[in-house]
Symmetry: C2
Subunit: 367 residues, 2 copies
DNA sequence: TGCGGGAACCGTAACGGTTCAGTAAGTGTG
DNA sequence: CACACTTACTGAACCGTTACGGTTCCCGCA
């Protein structure tokens, strides 16, 4: 492709102005304020631009001057590619993309490896604002975002006093699920949860670790579960909670196995995500147990695959969360100075993976 | 959050330098070239920066000077949110994200509504290069990208002489599928394809329209199909081809219905994507026909859902495509000046949705 | 003929950095 | 002690654009 006629250095607005014998302002106006110059001159400018291979005002220089980048930065705690592997994250992204599109903004995915403390990518992101999706309280990338003098919206976690936030009532949502299980008669349960801190821990999570978890959402869900079961006299200290660092079905499977090994008498496995629950489901069946006759399994999120297997779970509006986050960020008009919070509704989905526990006798001798 | 101690305007590198009584260069070096100043001074600079609430060098200003943005732009022909709804696109994105991550670059999704001719978003994208994913030959956004003086890689379509490209051998891939069907004995077939041009056309696509399609990939696949079937004496003019603008299962279903209405004697429906094929499958079964006993259905792409229903299809390495595109763009080292082309392998997946057609007698009277 | 007013265009000063060619002081060497 | 070399820092140019506050010119109108 021929990109410029004769100059070695690419044409700039200034060189174009020189060629035309007009001021830079006029050339700039030709692109940005057509009403500020005569149609003839404008045509002449544009024609000459084409002839010189001038691609129009440089976006970076323009951004510098106008103080806007026309893009929203997205920070998430996982590897970038993870965002496309987790259905809930994909849903969130879709919603966020919709909001960006409406406001004619780009969406910049910021590479932020959770293993690395390297925060340079946050510092070098040319964006008008950040959306932070579900990161731990002490995430260094989050700290870097907070230093940037641009608006920020956090989705899910953490919950910071001065920052706009979009989320759900995690406690209330999982409590509804817990009460459902309690009504069905479950008293001996096990829990599989996602990572509670930035440090890897694949195994039991002590009550202390649960309480001090740096992932706000997981903490809230575990606390709510403990409260719900405390109401019917279950001692939370005795409830095994298995933590998994990687959010995969394999993790869910191995955690479920561990749980059943730890306490063979549990009648239900509550997972804090559908992905984990799907893994648990597979593992439990692999071991020859029937669901829900032998054991109950529940998830959280309401992803498509969960619906397919009729998982009992809590549906949260992932797409809406993304859209709300984007709108919050881009609707500066609504910004009153006070931090805003959007809490979206969730819905208990009673599938076919939860049922009444059979008595021990039944379990041994059949119904 | 308190962002600066006392100044109304946010701190800049210059104001920080003034406060410290050192040159701007020194402050810049404190961030970018720690070896260029004494550790004590550097610490003093960084401490003062924190005190003044200086967030570090402005990314946009830096980009302007260094001529690099640290981001890759992605242009796709559909609404941004579509990218997250189509499994093949999601796979591509995942691969591209991986490559970007490796090179420590961000990934900027550019809003480019196919309905609008507005290319401002392309002009205002501050990126070091573009990846263009599957757009029509005459896409105005593509034209805008080509004007920008940055490297570009196109995935799938169009195929331009001077531009790096990643893709598959669409013709060869679908020919293998076609020969499989031919071996099974299919001679009367129907085709469902994706949009052939930017103008909406939901219905039969004439051979002329097929040949002049502005979507290179669809054109290649149709051409290859016609060649393969010509080899066994099938007159392509008689083969009904139904085009659908929207790439959804609903489109696939209605197109399949149309096809069977147009020619009830067809024994196979070849779809140019899995999404369309899944829709066709549902529709055909809804009409009470059995697959593959009564009719054969095939797809293209090899998405997870296709595997789940054992669709006969062609698997293409979508993730690898994304990764290859990213690498091609970011590995300037390899750039020899000549345009590069990466063709990835595909694989015929023989599922359970393709079988031998039964004779007309069999169809009416049973085997 | 004088004058108000809009249309069309211009000059300068940012915007916030990075880079490169210095300069001055300190260090080691024969 | 002269000389080269290193360390630590500086000044000015430059990146490409837009914002702001003009100036010039021409037309209509009294």
């Amino acid at each position: 492709m021929v990109r410029s006629t004769n100059s070695r250095r690419p044409a700039t607005l200034a060189s174009l102005a020189a060629e035309l014998g007009v001021s830079r302002t006029t050339v700039s106006n030709a692109y940005n304020r057509p009403d500020q110059l005569s149609p003839e001159l404008r045509k002449r400018v544009l024609d000459t631009a084409r002839r010189l291979g001038y691609p129009g005002p440089d976006p970076v220089a323009r951004s510098l001057r106008t103080r806007k980048a026309g893009a929203v930065g997205l920070l998430l705690t996982e590897n970038l590619s993870y965002a496309f592997r987790d259905p809930a994250a994909v849903g969130f992204l879709e919603g966020l993309a919709l909001a960006c599109e409406d406001a004619d903004h780009g969406l910049l995915l910021i590479p932020a490896n959770p293993e690395h403390e390297d925060v340079a990518s946050v510092h070098s992101a040319g964006v008008d604002g950040f959306v932070v999706y579900s990161v731990p309280d002490d995430d260094p990338h989050l700290a870097a975002v907070m230093e940037r003098p641009v608006p920020t919206v956090i989705c899910d976690q953490p919950s910071l006093p001065e920052i706009d936030r979009v989320g759900i009532d995690d406690g209330a949502a999982i409590k509804e699920l817990a009460r459902h299980l309690i009504e069905l008669g479950h008293r001996k349960i096990g829990v599989v949860c996602m990572r509670l801190a930035r440090t890897r821990n694949d195994g039991p999570a002590s009550p202390e670790r649960q309480a001090s978890a740096s992932f706000h959402v997981q903490r809230a869900r575990l606390t709510a579960l403990s409260e719900a079961f405390a109401e019917v006299g279950v001692d939370w200290e005795q409830v095994p909670v298995i933590e998994r660092f990687d959010h995969t079905t394999e993790s869910g499977g191995s955690a479920a196995a561990r749980l059943m090994e730890l306490d063979p008498e549990i009648t239900a496995i509550i997972c804090t995500s559908d992905i984990l629950a799907l893994g648990a489901l597979t593992e439990v069946r692999r071991q020859g147990r029937r669901v829900p006759q032998d054991i109950t399994i529940t998830g959280f999120d309401g992803i498509d695959d969960a619906e397919r297997v009729e998982l009992t779970t809590v549906r949260q509006p992932v797409l809406e969360k993304g859209r709300a986050a984007g709108r919050l960020l881009l609707d500066a008009s609504e910004s009153t100075g006070k931090p805003r919070e959007v809490l979206l509704d969730t819905q208990l989905i009673t599938g076919s993976t939860a049922g009444s526990p059979r008595s021990v006798e039944e379990r041994w001798f059949g119904p």
